[in-house]
């Protein structure tokens, strides 16, 4: 071998060694399935936005932790008035936005004024509708006045929709987000990736990672390959069907956790024949929940019998209310006046769990005499048809909002359930802050909607993350949407 060649080789080896030594411990590449359309969490509903920015770039007054509990965020502490109508927050000092502007109470007021303004495009505006006033007491103190007590108010403040933005940069957050979080936005190669870097002057504890790259990989097979090839270090939510590739592989860590997504067979209660309780009960009996879970989520979904997250303390296990019983279903249908069954459409949004569940449910319903026509739709069309115009018979969708049982108290909601008892129970639930009372009320509502078989309750969506075996600190559960980088670090 020529001496010169060997030198080159040695140098190349050295460079490789240093590169890996430097790159490994503080940088991360995360694969995510969907690319956000923009990066402003206060102006769009897409989960993909929160996955990138929530608690990384942007922070709220409070933050939700891995267990779903509310923790101090930009507000280091707060007090709540006796009547539950006044919240006073004390803000951290010395906090700056990534563009160098400082953070104070005015920014908080700006954020919520903007959120609640007439022309606001905040997707969750309704959640913050109880806020009647935000007052700046001094630069580090801000006071919220509510029009009615709201048991979920603090939790809602911790959501991505209520992160604090600065008046200087708010309008550009979609393309170039400026927040107060531990990571600053570096660049967005559209269609490909978003790069974040640790923000040096961050006010809180420094995260272990110095750089994070989000790669957008929509195709499961491609994601699998990227993980196997080491092109990405992990993904927060991997398609369950291919998890077997990584299970038992010591190089990877498979994290199966919970989400707030109650996946239901949404039924148009306002439309015949679904306005008939017997029909809905027949459908509930026709459903083989376990088969749906096995087929659509490869067993990772957690069965639910009502519209509530199973890991929540208020959850009531009602899964055995309507056991799988085809004969019973037929009998109920006959009783309801459909001895030969009936036909209906099942409109499916473009998510794998819905499409697979749809096929399985159609097959199950066929046995009971209900012929389902599957109609696959894009999101935009689904939102218009099903959600806005309520033009549907059945659909399958995961309701990912935490603690969203209140939708059953809204007769205008898309599935058209109108029950005065549930509505009044929900009003009481919203108005009280007493835990025991809340638990009782919430469980009462759960029981009623299950008895009424408002929707077909299928499963709680699981979060199935696949990560490099040497990574630690990832959230196993997803009480809110987001991939929080704060605690993620490499271990030897």
């Amino acid at each position: 071998m020529h001496p010169r060649k060997s030198l080159t080789l040695a140098l190349a080896g050295l460079m490789l060694a240093t590169a890996s030594a430097l790159a490994q411990p503080t940088e991360i590449r995360i694969g995510v399935a969907l690319e956000p359309p923009a990066l402003d969490p206060t102006a769009g509903a897409a989960e993909a936005i929160d996955v990138v920015v929530y608690q990384n770039i942007f922070e709220g007054l409070v933050r939700i932790d891995q267990t779903g509990a509310v923790q101090p965020g930009l507000a280091e502490s707060w007090t709540i008035s006796q009547d539950g109508l006044t919240y006073t927050f004390t803000l951290h000092e010395g906090v700056t936005f990534h563009d160098g502007t400082s953070f104070d109470a005015e920014d908080v007021k700006f954020t919520f004024d903007r959120l609640l303004a007439e022309g606001s495009v905040n997707a969750q505006k309704a959640l913050y509708e109880p806020i009647s006033d935000v007052t700046v007491v001094d630069p580090t103190t801000v006071e919220f006045t509510l029009s009615r007590p709201d048991g979920l108010f603090l939790f809602n403040l911790g959501r991505g929709d209520a992160v604090i933005v600065a008046p200087e940069s708010a309008d550009n957050n979609g393309a170039e987000p400026i927040g107060t979080g531990p990571f600053a936005f570096v660049q967005w190669d559209r269609g490909s990736r978003v790069v974040l870097e640790q923000f040096g002057p961050y006010w809180g504890d420094k995260p272990a990672l110095t750089k994070a790259t989000y790669l957008f990989i929509g195709d499961t097979a491609t994601m699998t390959n990227a993980l196997l090839a080491g092109d990405v270090d992990g993904t927060n939510n991997f398609a369950p069907e291919a998890l077997a590739v990584f299970e038992g592989n010591p190089q990877f860590k498979v994290l199966v956790g919970s989400t707030e997504g109650e996946t239901i067979l949404s039924t148009n209660n306002a439309k015949a024949p679904f306005d008939n309780l017997l029909v809905r009960q027949a459908m509930a009996h026709a459903l083989d929940r376990q088969e749906v879970i096995d087929g659509a989520t490869y067993g990772y979904g957690v069965p639910i019998g009502t519209h509530f997250a199973p890991h929540h303390p208020y959850y009531l296990d009602l899964t055995s209310t309507y056991p799988h019983d085809v004969e019973k279903a037929k009998a109920l249908l006959a009783e309801a006046g459909y001895p030969d069954g009936f036909s209906a459409t099942l409109k499916l949004p473009p998510v794998a769990y819905a499409r697979l569940s749809g096929q399985i449910i159609a097959s199950q319903f066929a046995e009971a005499g209900i012929e389902l026509e599957l109609i696959n739709m894009e999101w935009a069309q689904w939102l218009e048809d099903v959600f806005a115009n309520k033009d549907f018979d059945l659909t399958i969708i995961s309701h990912v909002e935490p603690f969203d049982i209140g939708i059953y108290a809204n007769p205008d909601y898309y599935f058209g359930y109108d029950n005065a008892e549930v509505q009044s129970l929900n009003d009481q639930l919203n108005a009280t802050t007493d835990e025991a009372e809340r638990l009782a009320l919430a469980q009462q509502i759960q029981t009623i909607i299950t008895q009424d078989a408002v929707n077909g309750y299928l499963f709680e969506l699981a979060q199935t993350g696949v990560w490099n075996g040497k990574l630690d600190g990832m959230w196993q559960n997803a009480p809110v949407e987001g991939v929080v980088l704060r605690d993620i670090h490499w271990v030897e």
């Binding site: 499961t220 069907e241 291919a242 590739v245 096995d294 087929g295 096929q359 399985i360 109609i375 696959n376």
Partner: protein
Amino acid sequence: MNWQALRHNPSLLIGLVATLAFALLGVVSIWWTPYPIEQVAIAQRFQGPSPAHWLGTDHLGRDMLSLIMSGTLTSFVVAALGVLIGVAVGVPMGLAAGAWGGAVEWLVLRISDLTFAFPAVIVAILITALAGPGETNAIIAIGVFNVPVFARVARGGALAVATQDYVAAARLAGHGNVSIAWRHLLPNIMSLLIVQGTIQLSLGILAEAGLSYIGLGTQPPATSLGLMLRDAQSLFLIHPWLSVVPGLTIVFIVIALNLAGDGLRDAMDPRLRHQGLAHGAG
């Protein structure tokens, strides 16, 4: 074309026999498949080939052989209807261009330029957005793609035929353009169209696979070879069989069609070799 030609042309024979075999497999699925393809049986999923399931079962426990049969039918039907649209619209356009010439020809060429300028996938995306996903999209998208192909082939053939004296003789006999196009031009470009049709059919099968693969084509509970590939793609490392079976089926069908097309071209008219595949780029 006759049996003699078939004997002297083994690739034509192989191509035709294989194409017919696959087509038959598909047609049979209209009346009979070993198992109904809508029938989901999660407990039975991911079985390897066995006497009960010759090609095993898929991720929903459906019989793979039944799916392949039904999928082959869908792929054929989608591709064939796409080609039919191309023929039904493109051929009259091309014949009109050949028979009238002048402004009509200019218009036809511009229209075919225009349709060509819209790539099939884009058409499929737009139609999907307009009407929701489904086979119809794939058919229309493939059809739109085929229109300029057949318009140009028909025009080229018609122009060549139109210079023949028998066309002038028909004119002398008082036949108008329509009648000439129907009596003389069309029959004489038929072999050209059949050959091109075979090639477009194979491209259509591939296009259907591609469109279904990105979710724009056939939708469950129906199935097509492309959709089977899509379903199996994420399971490739765990259950490669599910991807290999429909993948190879596509490969075999396309090869069979291409062999048949090449063979037909050679057998029918050596002159056609000039025009053939001129639009094979897509």
